[in-house]
Symmetry: C2
Subunit: 270 residues, 2 copies
């Protein structure tokens, strides 16, 4: 696609519509037209037209000039979830892992230099971070990210390194050579362990989920806090359960893929 | 807003962009340009421009002419979740209720004549229906819907009735007078029970969550299957826990609202 072709085909109003939706967050759950214009750097008339359109589509609500997102925006993510059989297949396995370990179990996918939570079974009532589906965390500082990246093509690994290995704690691996070595360890042992590299007190282990071609399509993670377990306990007690669960999900995914292909000839499994 | 003004301000490409995103589902997780054009009833050139734009924004991926949603679409819903403090506030209470009852606990909000799951803690490993955040169910045939509608203004109730009380099972209440009586019962007792009106074998109880003004902003639900519990067990064992949990969430919501208002003067709690 050439630059010109790309520009001609690009629909700017679509980008702006998403920019308005994504302007709402925990700090700004309710905004006026003026606040939205400032947050998106768009003109007030442009934001007004977008808001009126989004309101007619049911995604925002603006009673009294105070705009907010409606629960209809969750539909968009639900279509992602529904269209990825992996999430449905993994759900009972995540629950089982969470029950066995009494720790939260998560499933995550790679999106550029970030990792996105695509399914999660929380177990602890008091967590240092409240992780919702769709939450994004950096690839390099998480066990999920390393499990997803370890078997990726070289250019993808280098892209993450080139993007900068930002320190989130004093323990974050920020040196490229050390990071490449960490990925080699993940490849050798078949799972990843990251201790307090994203946040103090947060430990997690992850294993790759593979489709029937063997490609890594997601990471399964079990996370805990330093008050409840240390890396030794994770290694000896959690990793064997994690690996068994990841293998079962991968097996179910392969079987389902085969079963479905027979009927539909489609491959919506990542 | 007059019809003319509304039409002038309506951005059709935004509507079309969402139509393309929402065309992907469990039955059609991967689609070609031609399939998407057929599904959305848009022209191929229009769909092509939308796909190229969505691809540049990172929401779809189209390797080999086979298009699919990326995990980035989950970000949109995550902004809804983050911008509604209620969801974060309710999370530990949902977990506690799920632990106490050993049944899935859910939080839902009203969106027109439908109910949307906005948070959920699953507990059973084998469920008849796999419910994801963002899943929509009819208001009239669910305990959550009735808990949300019972205290709503009369016109909102009539809108649901006018929309048609469709039978989902032989037990669905489809008669308007009977439905109004069912809502009166909910108002009188303070909670709702719906037995197999949406699906055979599915039972649930719900209670309203109120903001500090007393308005019902969400419903808390506990659901089970007829194989595990009957309505008598729900009444005697689950309802007391449900009501206590709903009161605690409402109280936390009121306290948080007061605490936040002092600092920010905002009300992002529905």
């Amino acid at each position: 696609m050439t630059g010109t072709e790309s520009d001609r085909d690009y629909i700017q109003s679509l980008e702006r519509g998403f920019a308005v939706l994504l302007a709402f967050d925990a700090e700004r759950p309710v905004m006026t037209l003026a606040e939205l214009a400032a947050a998106t750097r768009l003109s007030r008339p442009a934001v007004r037209r977008i808001l009126l359109t989004l309101q007619r589509l049911g995604y925002v609500d603006g009673g009294g000039g105070r705009w907010r997102l409606t629960p209809r925006v969750l539909s968009i993510g639900q279509h992602y979830t529904a269209s990825h059989a992996l999430i449905e297949i993994a759900q009972p396995h995540l629950l089982h892992l969470a029950e066995q370990t009494n720790e939260s179990a998560s499933l995550a996918a790679l999106d550029g230099t970030e990792v996105v939570y695509i399914a999660r079974v929380p177990v602890r009532r008091i967590m240092s971070i409240n992780v919702a589906i769709g939450t994004r965390v950096p690839v390099h500082a998480t066990s999920m990210g390393r499990a997803l990246l370890a078997w990726a093509p070289r250019p993808e690994i280098e892209r993450v390194i080139d993007n900068g290995l930002r320190a989130h704690t004093a323990r974050t691996v920020t040196d490229p050579a050390e990071f490449r070595a960490a990925l080699r360890t993940v490849r050798d042992q078949g799972w990843s362990l990251v201790v307090e590299e994203l946040e103090e007190g947060l430990l997690s282990v992850s294993a790759p989920i593979r489709d029937r071609s063997g490609a890594v399509v997601a990471a399964l993670a079990s996370s805990t806090s330093s008050g409840r377990a240390d890396s030794e306990r994770l290694r000896t007690e959690v990793v064997p359960l994690l690996l068994r669960t990841a293998e079962r999900i991968s097996a179910d995914l392969g079987n389902r893929a085969v079963a479905r292909t027979g009927v539909q000839g489609r491959d919506g499994f990542f």
